[in-house]
């Protein structure tokens, strides 16, 4: 069984071989192929598509490395690309840094790299620069990835949480908590079967179908901390309050099952392919139809409203409002 060795992160021949045979071959694109110390992106490519650069980074430490619906490689591409896309930009170029634990099975690394390459290719994203480090056994857990990415925001597109105002509606693009519930089920060996699949997906195609929609004020992808965390971010940035409607929240039965079983709230569960969008009230229905017309937005729903009174709250099934506090800490570490 072939495994990763310290030599492969040492800058010598072993590392060159790993880069050439694995990374270069999988990510293959003209910008990477020049093999300079940096990727050189022609400015005209940027200027043609907008007037601002969107730039974002994220690190991926998920345990386990693969799960129903994805793996750390797919996540590392989708996660960073989604952070760029929710600003209205099209994600185009990605960097990628690997921290590998000595002794990691080469087959595991290969499969992660293949998955990254396939996800990126499908989305028209090029992985144009990278780095590899190997640390001694025990100094990291198997495999960590950092990606940073850039894209360009079209001129005139001004989505931002500070623009939310009382009366605006909040929409989600689909069911809540699929990723969190899937990882929880695996990690804690709950042994629940059925439709627990991570929603890990690249949201750029869905978002690009919304760019011409008037009335969109703000968009986020609801990852760690779930829709509740986004609601709190929206509330803080806009100085308004957010009120969600419990009966409107779309949930898969299996996810509800996990929540009921463990006494957890899917509003706090991580997603890896769900948008929260704030939109002017008179455009909410149109936006809902547009979302539902796309395969990634089939289960979209209007779930709440921006109000003048500060704070985040939920109207329950019997009409009683309750505070939606932000949990003190993530219930599940290493979820992405």
């Amino acid at each position: 069984m072939s495994t990763v060795t310290l030599a492969q992160g040492s800058g010598g021949r072993a590392m060159q071989k790993l880069i050439a045979t694995l990374f270069m071959a999988a990510f293959d694109n003209p910008l990477l192929a020049t093999q300079e110390d940096q990727a050189r992106i022609p400015l005209h490519l940027l200027n043609e598509s907008g007037d601002r650069l969107a730039f974002s980074t994220d690190s991926y430490v998920i345990d386990p490395l693969s799960f129903p619906g994805g793996d750390i490689g797919k996540l590392a591409v989708c996660g960073t690309a989604n952070d760029i896309a929710v600003g209205g930009a099209t994600p185009r170029w990605l960097s990628c840094g690997f921290i590998l634990e000595e002794g990691l099975e080469m087959a595991t690394l290969e499969s992660v790299v293949r998955s990254m390459a396939a996800t990126a290719r499908e989305a028209g994203i090029a992985i144009v620069t990278g780095d590899t480090k190997v640390v001694p056994r025990g100094a990291a857990d198997k495999l960590f990835i950092n990606t940073a990415g850039i894209g360009v925001i079209p001129a005139g597109l001004e989505w931002g949480a500070a623009r939310l105002q009382p009366g605006d509606r909040l929409l989600v693009s689909g069911t809540l908590g699929d990723h969190g519930a899937t990882i929880l089920n695996l990690r804690e060996q709950l042994g629940l079967e059925g439709e627990l699949v991570s929603d890990c997906a690249l949201l750029a195609p869905l978002i690009s179908s919304l760019r011409d929609m008037p009335g969109i004020r703000a968009m986020r992808d609801a990852t760690r901390g779930g829709v509740n965390a986004v609601a709190h971010e929206f509330a803080a940035a806009s100085g308004c309050g957010i009120e969600l409607e419990e009966r409107a929240l779309p949930l898969k039965p299996a996810v509800r099952g996990v929540c009921e079983l463990l006494g957890l709230d899917a509003l706090n569960f991580a997603n890896e392919g769900k948008l929260v969008i704030g939109v002017a009230a008179n455009q909410a229905q149109r936006l809902l139809e547009r979302l539902r017309a796309h395969p990634l937005g089939r289960d979209a729903a209007i779930v709440g409203e921006v109000v003048a009174r500060r704070g985040v709250r939920l109207s329950g099934f019997y009409g009683v409002q309750r505070t939606l506090d932000l949990p003190h800490s993530e219930p599940l570490p290493r979820i992405c």
Binding site: R256, R313, V320, T323
Partner: protein, 373 residues
Amino acid sequence: MRFVDEYRAPERVMQLIEQLNARARHLPHDARRPLRIMEVCGGHTHAIFKFGLDRLLPDNIEFIHGPGCPVCVLPMGRIDACIEIASRDGVIFCTFGDAMRVPGKEGSLLDAKARGADVRVVYSPMDALALARDNPQREVVFFGLGFETTMPATAVTLRQARLQGVNNFFMFCQHITLLPTLKSLLDRPENGIDAFLAPGHVSMVIGTGAYDFIAETYRRPLVVAGFEPLDLLQGVMMLVEQVGAGASRVENQYRRVVPDAGNSLARQAMAEVFAINGESEWRGLGTIADSGVHLTAPYQAFDAERHFQPRRRRVCDSPEARCGDVLTGRCKPADCPLLGRRCNPNNAFGALMVSSEGACSAWYQYRFQEEEA
């Protein structure tokens, strides 16, 4: 999900509330001196706040949040003893997740883990026993915590450990028993409790007959109830009818889960492994007679305190904290001067804020913003 949804159906909940309003009009109680129903269990408290049931009740009925959250009544000194054991070389300390963040004087088990102690969350004492078998060179300690709900599982695990001769497995016993505590509450003058909603899960083990003394000696009606909104409201309705008729009986609303006889196999296992004698300390309530749970002679070799001899400590809560008054219905969480800035889930000062099922924690989680406004 059908099983949950049918006990939450909004139209049936609203119907029941209407009926309750009609019946409550005939009670001698008013808003100034409402009918006070103690829900004993933290699970009930949580459901009441989560679904806003207290807000739906007629204004002459109110809930008092009882002592049935084992994490809330866990004295700080006991956590410190656990941390002392967990911090020893070679020990794997296993606990249910909800005890991880409970603060002792010297921090929480989570803090101890961050300092390097091998503290692990398990879902069952059997998981801890498996760890002991898999790590014969380590000493594995299970933090046994909870009422009669969790005691049978601990008892069965210790039985297995004894049968299999696993001699690197120990149990830190923080099991507690419900009935002496209810008795002690009722013995306090001016306790203000008119009726009880008794916890479904504990009753599943001890049976409904165990509560007879509450109805017979203390003349308080009691209904064993489930945890869904319709269960709780139906339980309240049954209590209102009893009060209206001047009766005090033990009734069982939760028949789909709780047999009146309880579970005799579970009680047998408990009786073999645990003995109840002597007083024990309850956070927020003080020392309660005849509520101490100990291991019986054949099982004392598994007693973590006997084996590790941690220092005994007594840590007092702030005299300003009104946990005891909340527990006995003398005040509501919002009446405590510490609640909010000084006592909140991120910085739990008092017993009832410590666990998410504690009354103050539930109040903070679901109400803080609403009441503030």
